[in-house]
């Protein structure tokens, strides 16, 4: 983080950026936008980093109010003024948020606003140091996207044969994952017209209250569709949790293993075939 120019003992506290060698340092830094604002928030000085990050040339921006760097809805909410007030009160204000370049493109920035005061405490203006975090944000979003994809891959809903879908759940189930699973399961049931869904939780070590509720919700939702869930592979720890939570399991068909569940499916289908065609 760059030093705030007026806070250093070598630069006179009266003017802004009047120390020549320090000015050269600040002006040349390209990775950070280091600018000065007057007490009202208008741009008083500009450096190479600011030109690179925000897109304005000095002659285009000096004198303009710094709220032009904020998105319209932030300006409407009075965010720039709030930040100035906070910096004036506390000495500094730091935040991460969206900023707008000259070409209108938005970028994710880390910005520190510092109040500049002279010896008697009079507010002379503000120093603003801004860093473009777009790359880091992109990397974060990519990780989130990958996490979502992994979540989908690891909770597949497969049609094994006509009328039966199987969903082996593996790993810990959190609320979000369970909700997404529920939607996917229901959609597959409708798409494949399967009256039976085998949900195997042998690979799920524990579940918390909220996830247990979502699991029960999933089973209820499947019933509303006109299908049935057979829950298989309920481990002792999970059986305990479900019973302790007082969850009513009376309407839920369960089997100890996926294999046993598949036998239920076979039975159910055989019955259906016999009833329709009279053939064994």
């Amino acid at each position: 983080m760059a030093k705030q120019p007026a806070a250093t003992p070598t630069s006179p506290a009266t003017g802004l950026g009047t120390d020549d060698s320090f000015r050269l340092l600040v002006e040349s830094v390209k990775d950070y936008a280091i600018i000065m604002l007057d007490p009202e928030g208008r741009v008083a000085s500009w450096n190479a980093g600011a030109e690179r990050i925000k897109g304005y040339r000095p002659d285009e921006i000096v004198g303009k109010h710094f709220s032009c760097f904020y998105p319209a809805e932030a300006v409407a909410r009075g965010v720039p003024e709030q930040e100035l007030r906070a910096a004036a009160k506390e000495g500094r204000f730091e935040d991460e948020g969206w900023r707008v370049r000259k070409d209108g493109k938005q970028f994710w920035a880390n910005a520190i606003l510092s109040a500049l005061r002279d010896k008697d405490g009079t507010l002379r203006g503000f120093a603003k140091v801004t860093r473009d975090l777009s790359e880091r944000k992109q990397a974060e979003e990519q990780i989130q996207q990958q996490a979502r994809e992994i979540m989908e891959l690891s909770t597949p809903v497969m049609q094994v044969w006509q009328g039966v879908v199987v969903a082996p759940l593996i790993g810990s189930l959190d609320s979000q994952r369970t909700q997404q699973f529920m939607e996917r399961l229901l959609n597959r049931i409708v798409e494949t017209n399967s009256p039976l869904a085998l949900v195997d939780i042998m690979g799920v070590p524990t579940i918390d209250t909220q996830t247990a509720q979502h699991l029960i919700e999933t089973i209820s939702a499947v019933r509303l569709l006109g299908a049935q869930v057979v829950l298989t592979g309920v481990r002792p720890a999970i059986a305990q949790t479900l019973v302790h939570l007082g969850i009513d399991l009376s309407g839920i068909l369960t089997r100890s293993s996926l294999a046993a569940g598949l036998r239920v499916a076979l039975d159910m289908l055989s019955l259906e075939v016999v009833a329709k065609n009279g053939k064994p």
Partner: protein, 136 residues
């Protein structure tokens, strides 16, 4: 934020309940909500619009696209000058039953949406604001 992404709809008759659903369905779909979230939002809107019609006879529903921390969302506001709710906290817990009597749609709408605020004054009216955010 788009300029045209807000609107207002007056509620004054029973048929306005389904009309309000259509308005909300269009708005939510246009914003990019998936079918399940659209269904949640429309259902919540149906409950709250019905509340206005049955308790206050008339009112207004406003909708607008909102954004916070780069996430887009939809905000619906339901306002009426009806009798008001004496005990909002109690209304929020009210058992949601399918037996006779309306049962306030507030707890239901709260479950379906991400955020909800209720302001009400007995004799003056009620304002309910609900928000749903696009999933990341």
């Amino acid at each position: 934020m788009n300029a045209a992404s807000h609107g207002e709809f007056r509620i004054g008759s029973e048929s306005d309940i389904v009309a309000a659903r259509k308005v909300v369905r269009n708005a939510a779909t246009a914003l990019g909500f998936g079918i399940t979230d659209v269904t949640r939002i429309v259902t919540a809107a149906s409950e709250l619009t019905r509340n206005i019609y049955h308790y206050a006879r008339s009112g207004v529903m406003r909708w607008r696209a909102i954004s916070r921390d780069a996430r887009l969302g939809l905000e619906l506001t339901f306002e009426d000058s009806g009798p008001g709710i004496p005990d909002v906290a109690k209304a929020m817990e009210a058992g949601f039953t399918t037996s006779k009597g309306l049962g306030l749609g507030l707890p239901g709408a709260k479950r379906l949406m991400d955020e909800m605020t209720v302001r009400s004054q007995v004799g003056k009216g009620t304002t309910v604001e609900v928000r749903k955010w696009l999933r990341k």
